[in-house]
Amino acid sequence: MGYMNTMQKHHSVELIPDKCIGCTDCIKRCPTEAIRVRNSKATIDENLCIDCGVCIRVCRNHAKRAVTNGLDVINDKRFKYKVVIPAPSLYSQFLRNTSINAVLTALKRIGFDDVLEVSRAAEMVTEETVKVLKEEARLKPMISSACPAVIRLMAMRFPSLMDNIMPVAAPIDVAASAARRMAMRKGYKADEVGVFFISPCSAKATAAMYPIGMEKSDVDGVISIADVYLPLRNIMAKLDPSEYEDLCQRSFEGMGWAATGGESADARIENAIAVDGLENVIRVLEQVEDGQLDDVDFIEANACMSGCVGGPLTVVNGYVARNVLKKVRANAASIPTDRGRAVDIPKGSVNLRLTKKISAANLQRFGQDMGEAIKNMEDIEAIYAQLPHIDCGSCGAPNCNAFAEDVVLDGIPVEDCIFMMRRKVKELAEEMADLAKKMPQTMTGD
């Protein structure tokens, strides 16, 4: 395990050391067992973290956060033209105002020059997905590439399924690249355009900075929904409906992507599995690995319960947000079709495919070769056999098995387990008592 407690390269989830009290809440909930408590602080192993944001959600001291840009990014002087690309989950955050144009108008008023909805890009991704499934897919099932936390999980825990990943770009990347081209058609140079993503989650924030399956992302900055929520709400409260600009791009099907099931519904894929919550995702992927789901066409997997509307950087509870999203889509669909601007994204102007193969993570934590790895594994089994198996977490590892690994692979003293320590103290005490009973020869005898 690493011992660094500040933000790691290639990650957006970080610890705020001053707020961490070194409890065991996060270590036990982390789906990849990436956190240990060392010196009274949680430490995140950068090799294992998938930026899912579960630790942000469960920490009662709010000692975890996702590094995003914050609203100040609007003042970045490098950019002459700023386009905001909101995730559709944003619309699900306003319980009392379900008008898309209200949200988009308020977004523009915050200081952006134009808006391109990620849901519009999602519909383009859907078309491409259908095409791949019809014409190219060699493997079954194909697994959506949209949730970066799931993709990172797969790279780490399901290396044999890498070829099952849908080779289609994620909607956010398609939207970002379309947004830049849109601005360039207005006469701006590529580097004068700033593209800012409003994100429901930490994993997407990371993916924007360190892209998966492509060289470079067109996203220049990521702002969390949590950071933009209050400013937006305040502006929306003051806006009269007559002031709403008609910015909605009528991508109501694409908006469905924000909740689990929306992606396969948009693509009209009947033989699909839509799964959410990392524990469930892991179970389904296990079944794929065992060859049990070879007859399923498509798997839509979201790390968060309810899908992106339940993301760790959202404000509203995911299940409530899902209800709001339904209302947003229903209301929007009743807008006359002549309203809502169709955004012209010419076919072929943006890349809809992943350009780089996503490869499995090469961890080799257990040893450089099989011989060494098997030897270490046997040592781990031997240590584990002595442990109490109650997974108390007092040692700083999430469970006894992970602790046994830390002992063998990282040289953590086995006495860090309070039960092992107690046993050792007992043995020592017994030995001392035995010794105390022994009298020197000079003092014994009759």
Binding site: D290, Q292, M370
Partner: protein, 136 residues
């Protein structure tokens, strides 16, 4: 290294736990992904057969630097005609079960296809032993 698991009788919901545990170990050891996939499919098929047809049993796994050896032993009813059971499409499942998608007759063929060595011994009334080896 040797691992051993008990597969419980009638516990369909828990079938696959042994293969899942073995997969986890193999991944940690750094076994290449295509090899893991073969082992996962072969072992899962064998494990599930033990739950459905026999009264559960024992799975012994031996991981060596160059191969993985898996032995599944049960004390179930045994297979009367092994050559028949090895054929693709052969199944003892009823028509109703087939209508539900079970009994495609791919169990043993899948095990054979995904292993480098396969052996099955069975005696009616006594039980079945399946041996699977996959080279690393």
């Amino acid at each position: 290294m040797k691992l051993s698991y008990t597969v419980l009788e009638g516990e369909y919901a828990r079938a696959g736990e042994a293969s899942s545990a073995v997969k986890k170990v193999l991944k940690q050891l750094g076994v290449p992904a295509p090899v893991i996939r073969k082992i996962a499919i072969a072992m899962y098929e064998a494990e599930i057969n033990m739950v459905i047809h026999a009264n559960g049993g024992v799975v012994d796994v031996d991981i060596l630097p160059d191969k993985v050896f898996i032995q599944l032993t049960d004390t179930g009813p045994g297979i009367p005609d092994i050559e028949m059971a090895k054929r693709e499409g052969f199944s003892t499942a009823s028509d109703e079960a087939r209508d539900l998608g079970f009994g495609a007759g791919m169990g043993i063929p899948n095990m054979i296809r995904n292993s480098d060595f396969f052996n099955i011994k069975s005696e009616v009334g006594k039980g079945t032993t399946v041996e699977i080896a996959v080279n690393l």
